[in-house]
């Protein structure tokens, strides 16, 4: 059981900044995210896109914003459970919570802050009638371990970065790799496109374009696919079909936690502290809704700050907490590090 002061569900910018504000109040945080790395949408969808409305940053790439937030919260030693989805929440007799992930990791804290953005990222699945039948029997949407495909015949569908990058990786591992895309053009880093071109020239990757998968067949396990190219059907005998069409967010298991939901978001009390209808559970950032809500990173930062103040009062009702200015108090990291303003030099001029 992982124990902390605040369990933060979602490691996007809002969740990450909450660690900093909690840290100023001596509260420890542990973040859970279904993606394998922190950063949420900023890291997953648009790491190379510039953001212009972070106060004082005239321009910052989304990926750099995440890196800077990670650097900023480092002194407060947050814990991370990554690549796991918060599945279930259990309220304890003392009012605290246990959050359990889909992989069975248990977390315990008196406060839970949901900073889940638009939800859990799930793979987008192509529209093929019997696709579900072959899931885990030859159809994989996420590649976790390339070794699984050693000496196997693999067919990847998709035209973006992940389809290109995994084709490159698997070309070294699998017996054969076929890449199918609806267009002749691929969208990805130039380097990846060039690498795939080179592997195609060396006959290490077969590319079929412009084409689509139209049928799946198998016995107990998927064993063949029909690829349709300009009206002509080709059959490929394969062991694995990996459609890589990106990820789409779904509110997911959180929707079943008894929280008040409106417009696919969690209703909170914005006049006070962004608490949900369940005391002790907060919702901050894009995942919440209230009159006048704006889904902006900078609003998420503000919400995270007020949430931490309220969490502190919930944890220590007897203590008077004071607003701290970092210019005055500096930052005392949980790792023993200390940042503070340089002392003024007082010296007599003779």
């Amino acid at each position: 059981m992982i124990r902390t002061n605040i369990i933060i569900i979602g490691a996007g910018p809002t969740g990450l900044f909450a660690v900093f504000e909690a840290g100023l109040l001596n509260l420890k945080c542990h973040l859970i995210d279904s993606l394998p790395k922190p950063g949420g949408q900023c890291a997953e969808i648009y790491p190379k896109k510039p953001i212009y409305d972070i106060p004082s940053r005239t321009e910052i790439l989304a990926g750099d914003l995440v890196d800077k937030l990670m650097e900023q919260i480092e002194p407060f030693q947050p814990g991370f459970t990554l690549g796991e989805t918060a599945q279930e929440i259990q309220k304890q007799a003392d009012g605290s919570f246990v959050v359990i992930t889909d992989k069975g990791t248990y977390h315990h804290a008196p406060v839970v802050a949901i900073a889940g953005g638009l939800g859990t990222f799930e793979p987008r699945k192509p529209n093929l009638s019997n696709l579900a039948q072959w899931e885990d029997k030859g159809v994989d949407y996420i590649i976790r371990e390339p070794e699984k495909y050693r000496d196997k015949k693999v067919l990847i569908a998709g035209g973006g970065d992940s389809a290109l990058d995994w084709s490159i990786v698997l070309a070294e591992v699998a017996q054969s790799v076929t890449l199918v895309h609806r267009r002749n053009e691929f969208r990805g880093a130039l380097e990846s496109v060039d690498k795939v071109q080179a592997l195609k020239d060396q006959n290490k990757i077969e590319i079929i374009t412009p084409a689509e998968i139209t049928a799946l067949e198998g016995d107990k396990h998927l064993n063949s696919l029909t690829v349709t190219r300009e009206g002509t059907s080709l059959v490929r005998f394969i062991d694995f079909f990996i459609p890589l069409f990106g990820l789409t967010p779904k509110l997911g298991p959180i929707a079943q936690w008894g929280l008040e939901i409106e417009k696919n978001a969690i209703k909170v009390d914005n006049s006070l502290d962004y608490q949900t209808n369940i005391p002790g559970i907060y919702a901050i950032g894009d995942v919440n809704t209230y009159p006048g809500k704006l889904k902006l990173i900078l609003c998420g930062f503000h919400e995270a700050t007020l949430m931490c103040q309220s969490a502190f009062r919930r944890l220590y009702p007897e203590k008077r907490n004071v607003l701290k200015y970092t210019t005055v108090s500096g930052i005392n990291g949980f790792d023993g590090s200390r940042k503070e303003a340089q002392k003024s030099i007082i010296k007599t001029i003779e």
């Binding site: 949408q41 648009y46 192509p126 998709g158 973006g160 609806r182 267009r183 969208r187 069409f245």
Partner: protein
């Protein structure tokens, strides 16, 4: 100057929307402003296709950018008249525009 456009939602219900042309808004943003169910996950960067729509009227839309072409080539339910709402800036030439939201 405002223009009037029609957006047919996923249940087939048409909505008449008034869209400003001087706020650098795109079709996805206008739909969101009227609380039609359009996620606009990527915020309008032609990177998610959650604002895909079918253009039903005969308006002079700007050419698709390479990014939009690429995204549509990876999206589902794509038709000849598919566009990404976020790539359609509101312009006075688009008065009377009629679109239908594509399935999610």
């Amino acid at each position: 100057m405002d223009i009037k456009i029609t957006v047919i939602d996923r249940s087939g219900v048409p909505h008449q929307l008034v869209a400003p042309t001087d706020m650098s808004m795109n079709l996805m943003e206008v739909c969101k402003a009227y609380e039609l169910h359009v996620d606009g996950i990527c915020g309008g960067m032609a990177m998610c296709a959650s604002c895909q729509c079918y253009v039903l009227s005969d308006h002079p839309l700007s050419e698709k950018s390479a990014d939009e072409e690429a995204m549509l080539s990876e999206a589902f339910h794509v038709k000849e008249n598919s566009r990404l709402g976020c790539q359609i800036p509101m312009d006075k030439k688009l008065g009377g525009l009629k679109v239908e939201l594509a399935p999610e």
